[in-house]
Symmetry: C2
Subunit: 456 residues, 2 copies
């Protein structure tokens, strides 16, 4: 079948591109899944352009695959069956800031940092931080989270309303601007995390927050990962509200020290953050110190000044880059299971055991307040054995996580890498998900071959 | 068609009842919607009983309507097309408490207070508090919330996993025990708030929280509702974490004073609560006092001792009962819109204007941190004019709320009373909801005639 591209070209003009370099640039994301070149790349500038794309795709049975910042880690943006890569980078306007409602309305191509720059004059911030300067549309599509989820939740807790273009070109608004609602079905959460398989987001209304008056940080070293995790349980159980709560294991600490000129003791270490009013945070930090020592911390260092705090989080945030610099020429691959808190020490044991047994280069960092952790692995992507060992480690971790009631992905999403675990994790519920996919996208045109695609 | 009840009776024995008084007791909830008597009442004791009910209902095309504690305010439990009322009161076991995971697994008939009693020895609590001692299954079905939602969110933020019996008798588990996940579609939120129209919950895994070390309260009087709401915006914008944040308007304060021997000044009053570590809460309360005074509070009274705090919240929680005692012989009816914060002063103006114009007896209380407020009305349910005026007030408020991007129900749910606003609020998205209903319940047997039922 010949696709009458000229029809679409007439509608979209230079917003539709076919050049090889542009198409190649949309063949992959930051993952190590095999690239696949789209037939065309579209740069919509408004909702109507997306509607035109959907109508054309619907009429001619062409896949549409959303593309945000390309920072995905599981191949969500790879157009595995060709079609049109819909690059939202030109839909990058912040349409409305409503400071009194703690709400913003943005287009999907707005990035996290762009939004925070725009919010700063209002004393507001958008807290979800996956590390990369991802697009907010992409973050919503994968239900991204990161270091601050322990306080502010993942994307699904912070998307209040969406404008979505459906597979047949219909435009729907789902959700309201109210802080809570018991009206109708909760469709916003159904679309958040759907990885472009149910619809394309064209506007997002997001919850934003006042910047706390004060933020303090601390690091605490433990003899074992188990002790560190127990300490976190005690902190959370005490009703204290942590803003960040990260675990870095010993090998990773050594790498960080080498790369960032820090002198953390080589031990499982918690990096913590509290925020709120100046007086409250100082008072809470004293409580945190006491609790950490009671829980067996070998050393607790509180970080009271802002420069030192920035340095601490710089080290944590850039841990993966430290690893990359340690192994030049290799590429980075990350696992992403999330388990019930009580299973975290055992999960880390499982990870360390397989790292040693398989002889792979990697370090463990974890959003320990959520039970979510990553093994950052350095692999040679052109060496099938090396990649194979990395996948084997990930496989053992996923099997463990699902066996204890956890999930194969805490924040990176399913994409291509975690499709094979959907049946095991969701059981009969996967059938429901596939039914919903068929209902909303009967011709399988929206990011086909992903997420709940029929792998039984 | 004759229904072969004896087949079902053989399976369920005395768990299936036909007595008139039992059936009459399941004909209504606490709302003023017209009762409808079910053909039978079932008291399942385990998931398999619910499966038997669903299979029988499916085979013989009989409606199944879930019944929790009967404390609903919008008629969700009324079997408007007859069939079987499924009373979950015998499925009231707390199946598992996992303190280290901050999780519990309960059956749907467990009540909020029952759960909190069981959690107390662990130093844990389940914070969602709709006022009534509702069943947790019912609370999940309506996405209930209440005074603590400003900190802990509504039910959908606190249900992590569900076991659901579908219309055809299939049992699915949706969600995981992990604190966050980006795996598959977010079906938990789709089922939470679905009011028994998509499936029957048979197990719920809920998030629980450590009891904070200290809790302090304050009240603050303002000259106008607008000033009070602006003060709340300042508090939230400062990054302070409020645990409760309630507004009571002047007429209601007068009623509370009369009934509870309190001496609040007759003015729009905020009731606030902070919780956390002792030192932090005391420090924050000082900040709160300053901010409230800066925002124009005429008087701020902090409540430092526990008895006084209990008294304060007793008055707020029982405000509706104070109103009832003020108008003996009349019945209570509550509106429930939720608007973006900035629209709250105008919404309260609209409410006060219509209260006066229609000449009805009522007071306004609001979960002002969420933009959700109720007009509590005292009506004579056997006087159509009186009821008509109450519905007229509710109608004007809903129209206003939807016009400013809010919702027709913040926490009571749709049931029968808010069905007529679903099209206006959700627009084309209602079609999606109806499609999902048809997908999951093609024979329209699960709570038929509710929520998204085809009223265009």
């Amino acid at each position: 079948m010949t696709i009458p591209w000229e029809t679409l070209k007439q509608q979209l003009g230079d917003k539709l591109r076919f050049g090889e370099s542009i198409r190649n640039a949309h063949a992959k994301d930051e993952s190590y899944h095999e690239p696949h070149v789209p037939d065309a790349v579209a740069y919509p500038e408004e909702t109507e352009d997306v509607v035109a794309l959907a109508q054309f795709a619907h009429e001619h049975r062409i896949p549409l695959v959303a593309y945000g910042a390309g920072s995905g880690l599981e191949g969500q943006a790879i157009p595995v069956r060709g079609g049109i890569s819909v690059d939202f980078s030109r839909m990058n306007r912040i349409l409305e800031v409503r400071p009194d409602d703690f709400l913003v309305c943005v287009e999907p191509g707005v990035t996290r940092q762009q939004l925070n720059d725009a919010l700063r004059p209002y004393g507001l911030m958008f807290p979800v931080d996956p590390g990369a300067n991802a697009s907010l549309g992409g973050m919503a599509a994968t239900n991204a989270s990161g270091t601050t989820a322990v306080r502010y939740g993942p994307m699904k807790a912070n998307v209040r309303k969406l404008e979505v273009v459906l597979a047949d070109g219909r435009v729907v608004e789902i959700g309201t601007l109210a802080a809570k609602s018991s009206s109708g079905y909760n469709l916003v959460e159904l679309f958040v995390g759907s990885e472009g398989t149910l619809g394309l987001f064209t506007k997002l209304w997001l919850r934003v927050y006042g910047v706390p008056e004060a933020t303090l940080a601390a690091s605490a070293e433990f003899q074992t990962v188990g002790e560190a995790v127990n300490a976190v349980c005690m902190l959370i159980g005490s009703g204290l509200q942590l803003t960040r709560c990260e675990l870095v294991t010993k090998p990773y600490i050594e790498i960080i020290n080498r790369q960032f000129d820090t002198d953390y003791a080589p031990a499982p270490t918690l990096f913590l953050e509290l925020s709120g009013s100046q007086a409250a945070v100082q008072a809470d930090m004293a409580t945190v110190e006491d609790l950490l020592r009671d829980a067996g911390a070998v050393r607790v260092a509180t970080v009271m000044d802002e420069r030192a705090r920035q340095k601490l989080w710089h080290a944590r945030h850039n841990a993966a880059y430290a690893l990359m610099r340690t192994y030049p020429g290799l590429s980075h691959l990350s696992t992403d299971v999330c388990v019930p808190m009580s299973k975290l020490p055992e999960a880390v044991d499982v990870a360390e055991m397989w790292i040693e047994r398989l002889g792979i280069r990697g370090g463990i960092v974890g959003h320990v307040g959520d039970g979510n952790f990553h093994v950052s692995l350095m692999v040679n992507p052109s060496d099938p054995d090396d990649l194979g060992r990395a996948y084997e480690l990930s496989h053992h971790l996923v099997e463990y996580a699902i066996s204890v009631g956890g999930t194969c992905t805490g924040e990176h999403g399913v994409g291509l890498g975690k499709m094979k675990y959907q049946k095991k994790e969701h059981g009969e519920a996967l059938t429901l998900m596939q039914d919903i996919k068929r209902l909303l996208d009967p011709d399988d045109l929206l990011n086909p071959g992903k997420l709940v695609d029929g792998i039984a």
